[in-house]
């Protein structure tokens, strides 16, 4: 009964969503506020409905209802309750329900805002989110139903939502369970983070479309959704970092990013989202790049839908499998359709979206922002080309040709370097007009300091040219950004007669988005240190040692003490753990415990590294194999990953920066008015 109930509510939410979209359009056509209001209420109803349906699904997951095929796929008796709940997004059907739930929640939040000043947007925002939600709910209701069950018909097991003729329900004794690789805290938070980011981007897109349809193409839609895009970007970025951390901790290959299609699918909307974040500032401040911003948010939306599909369709390594699902063609169709309609709307409004001012100087702030956008889009093109290259080559030459990580590293490396450089100098250029002279005067100190540092590194750390260029750019970005804080605070100290630290904190609090942005810039430079370290200086060794023997890598000596194997029946896991003593230059540092977990239900092992992290490097040890009888010999693979910790430190700084920038003020309307005023007053300092 409960299964039918859950499915029934789901179908109902689908119908209500369709109604809300239709009523919104009808209301606009008939100029009837009551129809729009009806659409608004229908929209608000979708959230409780989808919540109920989701709760039913969670109930089924937690209570081992293995007759439901989704529960059978993603849960098993041995999984703890919290993992059974998170199994909600552990498979395709459930994660699409989760996606829909988030979208209806976010749309409801938007629907509940004060609409006085922009009531003309309301029906169209409802329509756009209703279309998106209809698509996802439709996919779930008709093709990827999480409530579908197993039935026994004439001794055969079949899968169906409703009872076939003369069938009895079939309930397996145990489920297959989540893939052990996914039973990790990082993997528990990573998908929802990514999804939060993905779904949040629907809101700015909906407003952009509303602006295009109504013809109110000023920057109002950007101002309304500014915080949405910031939060979307926060979640998406953090989702990506968490995914990297999970790969580093669980996948056991000593890295965190492998440029596989799934990762790239999540990375592409981040690239357009980041470009969007920067270019909307140009529109707000200078009234330029309006057409471009529309294109960026449309691209982001399309990539989000595309990414949702790619990241959950079971594509792990094959370049071709992203069509490997019955719903693949529908996704491609939906992305194409929304893309065509959106682009058509932009073309229709093309003239109204012209810039109010013309770009004059190549070194002006707006020109450098434009360059930053070009670089982000170039990285996007590199990624997109890499993903579709096999298809293109097959069309052109009949041979499937693929490109791997070296392609991405080679092609994106210079572009990332360019971004670091821009990050360092752009804050010093002025709106409207800058010359090489004014820019040079502002940054020469930072350049000099970075050069000195690079020389020191050349003599003490590395002679690798790429590394030195990289470190120079990182240092430049760090010095220049810190200098920017210093310069601003100093100026304020003089004019406001405050002491330096009060001046600094007031400055930051009054220009939160700007200084939050600079904190994010610093975090990016820190993360770049980690990337340079692991890409260019990773050291590794491997070997089989008997008890008491050692392996040596760099300054580390790793001594094998003992090994133990034990099973915990209730977890369904057998653990094998090695104990290692770690010495650095003869000094004892402590022990590490790399292990291999064997999951009985999935018949799969999972290699958990032993890790020791410092600011200088990570020692990362994998237990590869052991002699089962004597317990005397075991094989290890050891990585030394220099500086990689800065990656994670950078991501924490990043979090601070973006929360600083995005934290809600008391009254957003009042603040945007105030910011406008203070901008016009202090535009010289900007």
């Amino acid at each position: 009964m409960i299964v039918e109930f859950g499915y029934g509510v789901l179908v109902l939410s689908f119908l209500v969503t369709v109604y809300s979209g239709v009523a919104a359009v009808y209301g606009v056509r008939k100029k009837s506020a009551s129809w729009v209001e009806s659409a608004r209420r229908a929209q608000l109803l979708t959230f409780p409905l989808i919540s109920i349906s989701s709760l039913v699904l969670i109930y089924l997951l937690v209570n081992n209802h293995f007759e439901v095929s989704f529960a059978y796929e993603v849960t098993s008796l041995s999984m703890p309750a919290y993992l059974k709940i998170t199994a909600w997004w552990g498979g395709q059907a459930g994660s699409m329900l989760f996606w829909s739930w988030l979208l209806s929640m976010f749309t409801s939040l938007v629907t509940l805002r004060k609409w006085d000043r922009d009531i003309e947007f309301l029906p169209w925002v409802i329509l756009v989110s209703a279309v998106t939600l209809t698509f996802f709910l439709g996919m779930i209701v008709f093709f990827e139903n999480p409530f579908s069950r197993f039935w026994l018909v004439n001794g055969n097991v079949v899968e169906s939502m409703f009872q076939p003729v003369a069938a009895t329900i079939f309930r397996p004794e145990d489920g297959r369970g989540l893939n052990p690789l996914l039973r990790h805290p990082g993997m528990v938070i990573h998908p929802p983070m990514l999804y939060l980011g993905f779904v949040s981007y629907v809101i700015p897109y909906a407003f952009a479309m509303a602006a295009l349809i109504t013809g109110r193409t000023d920057d109002r839609w950007i101002r309304i959704t500014r915080r949405w895009s910031l939060w979307a970007w926060l979640f998406l970025s953090f989702g990506l970092v968490l995914g990297g951390r999970w790969a580093y901790d669980v996948l056991g290959w000593g890295g965190y990013w492998g440029w596989d299609p799934v990762e790239i699918a999540a990375f592409m909307p981040w690239l357009t989202g980041t470009a969007f974040l920067h270019s909307v500032m140009i529109q707000e401040k200078r009234g330029m790049l309006k057409q471009w911003n529309m294109v960026l948010i449309i691209l982001t939306y399309s990539l989000v839908i595309f990414g949702t599909f790619l990241t959950r369709s079971g594509v792990l390594s094959s370049v071709h499998s992203f069509a490997n699902s019955p719903i693949g063609p529908f996704f491609m169709g939906f992305v194409t359709l929304t893309l065509v309609v959106s682009v058509w709307l932009v073309i229709k409004r093309w003239n109204e979206l012209r810039s109010e001012t013309e770009m004059k100087s190549m070194l002006s702030r707006e020109a450098l922002f434009l360059l930053n956008n070009l670089l982000f889009i170039s990285i996007l093109v590199v990624c997109f080309w890499g993903v579709i290259y096999p298809l293109i080559s097959e069309l052109v030459s009949g041979q499937k040709v693929t490109v791997g990580p070296p392609y991405y590293e080679r092609a994106t490396g210079p572009l990332f370097a360019g971004l670091l450089f821009l990050m360092a100098i752009a804050p010093f250029s002025a709106w409207g007009h800058s010359t090489l002279q004014t820019l040079g005067r502002a940054v020469w100190k930072s350049i000099l300091a970075s050069l000195v540092l690079t020389f020191i590194l050349f003599f003490t750390y590395t002679q690798n040219l790429y590394a030195l260029i990289g470190f120079f750019l990182v240092a430049l970005a760090l010095f220049a950004t810190t200098h920017e804080f210093y310069r601003g605070a100093l100026a304020r100290q003089k004019t406001q007669n405050e002491n330096f630290f009060t001046a600094l904190s007031n400055l930051m609090m009054r220009n939160r988005r700007r200084y939050g942005g600079y904190i994010i810039h610093i975090s990016m430079a820190l993360m770049a240190i980690g990337i340079l370290g692991i890409e260019l200086f990773q050291k590794e060794t491997q070997g089989t040692v008997a008890q008491g023997e050692s392996l040596i890598v760099g300054e580390y000596r790793v001594e094998y003490r003992e090994l133990a194997s034990w099973g915990v029946q209730s977890d369904g896991v057998n653990y094998t753990r090695a104990v290692l003593d770690i010495y650095e230059n003869g000094i004892y540092l402590g022990q590490l415990y790399p292990r291999i977990d064997y999951f009985y239900d999935a018949e799969q092992t999972m290699t958990i590294p032993g890790q020791r992290s410092t600011f200088r490097d990570d020692l990362y040890i994998l237990l590869v194999d052991w002699q089962p009888v004597s317990n005397s010999g075991a094989t290890f693979k050891i990585y030394v990953n220099p500086l990689v910790n800065w990656m994670w430190i950078g991501s924490l700084v990043f979090l601070v920066g973006i929360i600083f920038a995005a934290w809600p003020d008391k009254d957003p309307e009042a603040v945007s008015a105030r910011v406008k005023k203070s901008v016009s007053q202090t535009s010289a300092a900007d």
Partner: protein, 159 residues
């Protein structure tokens, strides 16, 4: 738009195109199934290739002293349409492993034995074929679809 912006933009575009072009030519690898690879042997011996096939569980051997992993893969189609026509990835891999007439290739890989390596896994490998017909993989990716026999649960309770 002033001409200097067009020239600047054009230069950036050209640079990006050059980057993509040179990186593509430098790291492109042909993607082949076992049959396709064997059909072009020995011409492609030594070329950098990316091949795919089904892992045969009985042949997996691992020497921890040298971290040498050897196993055989059987030919399995890689084309999406072909896979769908033959009943899905899990079934295709199952058939490949249980069909003794399929062409097989021996693979050598030096490194940590991947957690996902097991019978009926889809292996996607980058490496080169030597003149003895052994594939030396430098990169090994594995994908385990729902195993065919388990696609539906086995009947555990008699009615």
């Amino acid at each position: 738009m002033k001409p200097k912006f067009l020239i600047g933009g054009g230069m950036i575009l050209a640079a990006v195109f050059y980057l993509i072009f040179s990186a593509t030519t430098a790291s492109a690898e042909r993607f082949m199934t076992v049959d396709e690879m064997l059909a072009e042997t020995p011409e492609i011996v030594g070329d950098s290739l990316r091949i795919t096939g089904a892992v045969i569980g009985d042949t997996i051997q691992y020497d921890p002293d040298t971290l040498t992993l050897t196993f055989e893969i059987a030919h399995a189609p890689a084309d999406f349409k072909e896979i769908e026509e033959q009943g899905g990835l899990a079934k295709v891999l199952y058939d490949a492993v249980h069909d003794p007439t399929r062409a097989r290739v021996k693979v050598i890989y030096i490194g940590v034995k991947p957690d996902l390596l097991r019978t009926e896994a889809q292996a996607i490998m980058t490496g080169t074929l030597d003149e003895n017909g052994v594939f030396h993989a430098t990169e090994l990716l594995l994908k385990c679809p729902t195993r065919y026999e388990q696609a539906l649960p086995e009947q555990t309770t008699q009615p």
